[in-house]
Symmetry: C2
């Protein structure tokens, strides 16, 4: 039973055909479940040609005679054959798989960005392996999985993405693009929007509208987007000679904004203008302000960040910054393709996409 070890191909092909042609009717040797797709060998034997003929038939621009081609196609159809990409991954060391790591799908901005990513990556011929993590640190736990599936690249759409985690990924030499975290290194690029400038812009707008006391509803402390927005906001206000900015913790969420605003505006001498780390928290804040009896913008000016759909709804009409997700995604995909085309030789610089002020009623 071992003596034919050297004639492995014959033995293998024979076994394969038998098992598959019978189609699970009368063989109890395997526990059934691992269902098998038809293979090129199956198709070949049914068509009476070689396996390579099948392979060539399904490769664009290969040399197959029309006769062979037809035989193969007929057999393939009969067996519902679809070429597997798995072996190709082994051969080419390319999976065409891009992992997207997300954490905050509750924020419509990220849902929409995700949708853009799916569309563009599919268009670029990539498949998307989606991974959800609760925090940056839990990313570490899934990194080995990503490596095991041999993903070609990783996109992090996390609001917090530490340098340490980036290093961890870099050891695998997988190109990584960070979305809204301005870190770069040999294997890490990033696409951000101009958070700092937005902070300055809104401060300027608030000042021009006559506000003299200022508040900020913070996102997550560790998030660069949050700190940059605050830094820009503060810098211009300080240059203009205005006192400290009151800060409340909103965690990028509606409820967070709601609570923080209730606390901040329940006290004497509340701010006359409130910049929020994102739209979600701004909407929560607006509802809180109204509940407290403040008029927006009559008593308090409010602005957010992201321009998610609800910001434009009649009930809010929130002034905000359009973070151009489409453009950012586009740049991200470009960076990926670039990294895939050629191994990086030096760290890039964070790519910064401009934002656009969208002024609605909450600041007028």
């Amino acid at each position: 039973m071992i003596d034919d070890g050297s004639r492995r191909k014959t033995a293998r092909r024979g076994a394969g055909i038998e098992k598959e042609r019978v189609g699970g009717s009368a063989d109890a040797d395997l526990p059934v479940h691992p269902k098998k797709y038809a293979s090129s060998v199956d198709v070949a034997s049914l068509a009476g040609v070689s396996q390579s003929a099948v392979s060539r038939t399904f490769k664009a621009g290969a040399s197959v005679s029309e006769a062979t081609r037809q035989k193969v196609l007929a057999a393939a159809k009969a067996l519902d054959y679809r070429p597997s990409l798995i072996p190709r991954i082994m051969l080419t060391h390319r999976s065409q798989l891009v992992a997207i790591v997300v954490g905050g799908l509750y924020n419509p901005f990220y849902s929409m960005v995700l949708e853009q990513f799916l569309i563009r990556l599919q268009r670029a011929g990539k498949q998307v392996l989606m991974v959800h993590v609760n925090s940056d640190s839990s990313l570490d736990a899934v990194i080995p999985k990503l490596a095991s599936y041999r993903v070609d690249a990783v996109v992090s759409a996390l609001s917090v993405f530490s340098a340490r985690t980036a290093d961890e990924l870099a050891r695998l030499r997988i190109p990584v693009v960070a979305f809204n975290t301005p870190l770069t290194s040999l294997w890490l690029s990033s696409v951000c929007c101009d958070n700092y400038e937005a902070g300055r812009t809104i401060a300027d707008l608030f000042l021009s509208r006559g506000a003299r006391r200022f508040g900020y509803l913070a996102g997550v402390d560790a998030s660069p987007a949050n700190s940059e927005r605050l830094a820009g906001y503060r810098s211009l206000l300080e240059e203009a000679g205005y006192g400290p900015v009151k800060i409340g913790p909103a965690k990028f969420r509606y409820d967070g904004g709601h609570q923080a605003a209730l606390a901040m505006f329940g006290r004497p001498r509340p701010p006359e203008a409130l910049f929020c780390a994102n739209d979600l928290s701004a909407l929560g804040a607006i509802d809180a302000l109204r509940k407290l009896g403040f008029r927006v913008p009559g008593d308090v000016l409010v602005a957010g960040f992201d321009d998610i759909p609800p910001a434009a709804w009649d009930a809010y009409q929130l002034t905000t910054f359009l973070q151009d997700g489409t453009r950012m995604v586009e740049e991200t995909v470009k960076l990926i393709e670039q990294a895939l085309a050629q191994e990086p030789t030096s760290a890039g610089v964070p790519l910064v996409v401009p934002v656009k002020l969208v002024e609605r009623k909450t600041t007028q």
Copy 2:
């Protein structure tokens, strides 16, 4: 690059290690891009053991001596080795990949469902291949891709999922679960919520609040969820002897609801109660009604479906149906695991999850 064809293995091993250790410094034999991960063979040769020893070291509960184990681990660390799952897929005919097909991420309900799926599938040891399509028919185009990646199962989170498309997938003998489309067949199961009953429930509530003229803002016509909700709504109203329901086209979207409500309520004798196919369109309708000068609920009762976060926001306080996404996802994952454990022998029945009326201010 062709001359060493026969001694590929040796050449490769050397090249692989060199490239990895040196980090891409001095070899120009390959077009660089196809970056190689270290393989178990590389690790084995560095550790001075056989490849099988490496394999066993990384398999839980295998028999390796501590000494071998240590040598292997050291070598693996030096080479940043992670076992590849790709060959395993070929051997086991299982990729552990589940595809999720989405189309409407603009709807927070689907974003949240997606998030649940990611969490639960990851917990179940599956990886998620995400696919975005614009419509049911464009799903056909990606089916071959899914087959090529040998996904173990497919979840359709499309609002429209035709029997024809289901058949197409069934030919591949991949288990499919349809989310909110009550189709089943040998390879297709489905998880829905009780749309019909919800329609009846809200009709009953409207009646008990004194409404006598009724409107419905439709989603997409081809969507079963849409037609079931309408059917239930109509059935109870007709039983109660109330006239035809006015219908407007809202397409499940905020803008759609807005436009449709403007049209419906700009005419004489408008409805006194308005049921909307989902929350998004209900919110758009509320803003339209307010713009037209109607009070909600004073002049018009409004209800939606899904219980997305904005429905609970102060500015709306929308009465709606909690579609228990978490529960539905849970059931879906169960169905998948079931189908994977044992080949289906007969078609199941659509699983129906109850919904819960969440009454807020728009109906009181």
